[in-house]
């Protein structure tokens, strides 16, 4: 985070002016969301007579990328801002997916119950509640203890999902998830067009919320905790309360992401809670760079496209390449893709002067 924030915090004006300046929207942010919207608009290209062969058929894939990005964003909130390592975010993702899935399945016909947006809120609430309940576990111990506790919680949730066959459908997954039209107007279609816009809007709202949060004084107190929890406590930051809050919030966001996936794919399975889900999403944050918010989003784009591409060449061995990339990243690159980019930008700026 050093490269971007140190640039952001040039000594101009009063501290509050500096904070406002640091929170300003930048061109690459417009670029990012602009590209996302363009991807969505490309679905109309065939109607206008243009032939864009790839993108319209990848609507579902793009929705999934956005959803995984949201999950990665929730991890980034913990890891990149509060310095809270977690290997169990998949648990909340899965809880959200099953909450939304069950609501859509059993609430079908009862219009308000199966409304997707209500489903998402429920998914966020339930996951947030579980997050709150387990947040006390991550307050103690070192990084290692935290990793193992969060992993343990994720494994317990996975085990629960597998065993409670009557409710979750066990290893077959939750069948027959049928979401009613969004706000009673827009129906989910077969090609995932509605799903894409719906996902994009929800992800953007969540992102905007997180962006406001991390640029507030609250967000700076989180960074202080990441920097040094002991000193943060000494200057009056309520460390434990902050950690509980941010962990709960991250769980709720992960739950919303899970709910989105269940609604757009009309399916929920134990795969959504599995260990690789937690590991993958952590990898996305690391790929992209932790502590930028965009790290997770960009990481998920790269990760998912790489997965799609590599498993076309060598089906099922793409894990090998992920492993290789991961090892190289840890050994040679700091702060992932964004770290690389910002280093390149500052280098070219330095050369220009």
């Amino acid at each position: 985070m050093s490269a971007v924030t140190s640039e952001n915090l040039r000594p101009i004006g009063t501290p509050s002016e500096q904070l406002v300046a640091a929170a300003r929207w930048r061109w690459f942010e417009f670029l990012f969301w602009g590209i996302a919207i363009l991807c969505g608009l490309s679905m109309f290209a065939p109607m206008l007579g243009f032939n864009v062969p790839i993108i319209p058929s990848k609507m579902m894939l793009m929705s999934e990328i956005l959803i995984l990005g949201l999950l990665a964003l929730s991890i980034d909130l913990c890891l990149g801002y509060a310095g809270l390592v977690t290997l169990g975010q998949g648990a909340f993702f899965g809880i959200g997916a099953y909450t939304a899935g069950l609501l859509a399945k059993h609430g079908a016909g009862v219009a308000p119950l199966s409304d997707p947006i209500l489903g998402l809120l429920a998914a966020g609430l339930v996951a947030g509640f579980v997050g709150f309940a387990t947040s006390f576990l991550v307050l103690r111990g070192s990084d290692l203890t935290r990793l193992m506790v969060t992993l343990g919680v994720a494994l317990i949730v996975e085990e629960l999902v597998n065993k409670l066959k009557d409710i979750t459908g066990g290893s077959d997954g939750l069948q027959g998830v049928m979401s009613s039209p969004i706000l009673g107007i827009w129906e989910f279609d077969l090609f995932g067009k509605t799903a894409f816009w719906y996902t994009l809007i929800v992800v953007f709202v969540c992102f905007w919320f997180c962006r406001r949060l991390v640029n507030s004084s609250y967000g700076y107190s989180l960074r202080a905790i990441k920097g040094n929890a002991l000193r943060a406590r000494a200057i009056g930051v309520p460390v434990n309360a902050r950690l509980i809050q941010v962990y709960t919030l991250a769980a709720a966001i992960a739950g919303i992401a899970g709910g989105l996936l269940a609604q757009t794919t009309q399916f929920a399975s134990p795969d959504m809670v599995a260990f690789h889900r937690s590991a993958d999403s952590l990898l996305m944050v690391i790929f992209g760079g932790a502590g930028y918010l965009y790290g997770g989003l960009i990481g998920s784009v790269v990760f998912r496209i790489m997965q799609d591409f590599l498993s076309n060449i060598t089906p099922q061995y793409w894990l090998f390449w992920v492993g290789v990339v991961l090892v190289l990243l840890v050994l040679f690159v700091r702060n992932g893709i964004i770290g690389l980019l910002s280093a390149a930008v500052s280098r070219s700026k330095g050369a220009g002067k």
């Binding site: 290997l87 343990g152 317990i156 065993k163 090998f320 492993g323």
Partner: protein, 286 residues
């Protein structure tokens, strides 16, 4: 009942041999090597290849598995792991998860995704009755081997000069280095022996534990439980933790199969909450 106890102990002993290397390296260098299971998998698959492809006797496979895994361990330690000692725990975890992915995919590519089966020598098959318990010969064999190894390890660590250097390094790396102890060398050797033991455990367990490409991930959690319950400052801690875990797991799967994995995961989380340093650790805080 006694049979379950016996099987549990055999399983626990096996877990101990598999995970003791990880405990020592974690205690020594504060390095989280989640890919420890990959070394066990290497030993297991070596046994499968040697026995099924080349018809080599099972008894030769065991030392071979130890040596090959140890060499593999020391090579990786010198080339890759040693770069990571100063990095954060998160980096170490990610790095070793990367190694797990590589190992899993590589084994999948070479050997296929199906579970590998080996045929044990005839004299190790079969069961006999003893004091009302039905005892599998092979499990007895495993207990004897692992028991001997445990005694040997305890002797080396407790009584030899190398052992006292090792203990000194675990207790305080900086001071040990200041006293002229070659911590790096000791660590490389320990890493090699730990990996070798994991390989041996994999070879021994090839017929008990299921040997397929997902092995490192599947058993990672068991290793972590052993560490979290047993602590990393002694080897008696992990030993008792392994035995307990083995018995709890076997008994749990036998008596209440429907909630199987719950018990051990819950135990791990509970122990971590109340005693983050492990159940059996001496209460030395640094």
């Amino acid at each position: 009942m006694l049979t379950i106890l016996f099987d549990g102990i055999a399983y626990g002993m096996l877990l101990f041999v598999l995970s003791v290397g990880l405990c020592v390296t974690l205690g020594l260098m504060n390095f989280i090597n989640l890919a420890h299971g990959a070394f066990a998998m290497a030993g297991g698959y070596l046994t499968v290849v040697m026995m099924n492809w080349y018809g080599i006797s099972f008894y030769w496979c065991l030392p071979a598995a130890f040596i090959v895994s140890a060499v593999l361990g020391v090579v990786l330690e010198r080339t890759l792991y040693s770069r990571l000692y100063d990095k954060t725990h998160l980096d170490q975890v990610l790095f070793s998860i990367g190694l797990i992915f590589i190992a899993t995919a590589a084994v999948d590519y070479v050997m296929g995704a199906s579970q590998q089966i080996i045929n044990l020598p005839a004299e190790l098959n079969g069961r006999f009755e003893f004091l009302g318990a039905s005892i599998g010969v092979y499990r007895l064999f495993v207990i004897i081997i692992c028991g001997l190894l445990t005694v040997l390890l305890q002797y080396v660590i407790g009584r030899t000069r190398f052992g006292s250097r090792l203990r000194a390094s675990v207790d305080d790396r900086r001071v040990a280095r200041g006293l002229g102890i070659d911590v790096t060398g000791i660590f490389a050797l320990t890493f090699a022996v730990g990996s070798g033991l994991a390989g041996l455990g994999g070879a021994l367990g090839a017929s008990i534990l299921s040997m397929d490409p997902t092995f490192p991930l599947k058993y990672m959690i068991y290793f972590l439980i052993v560490i979290s319950v047993g602590g990393t400052t002694t080897i008696t801690g992990p030993f008792f933790a392994s035995i307990l875990l083995g018995i709890a797991d076997v008994a749990g799967k036998y008596f209440v199969p429907s909630i199987g994995g719950f018990i051990i995961y819950s135990i791990m989380v509970l122990v971590l909450i109340f005693k983050p340093e492990g159940l059996f650790t001496r209460s030395t805080r640094r």
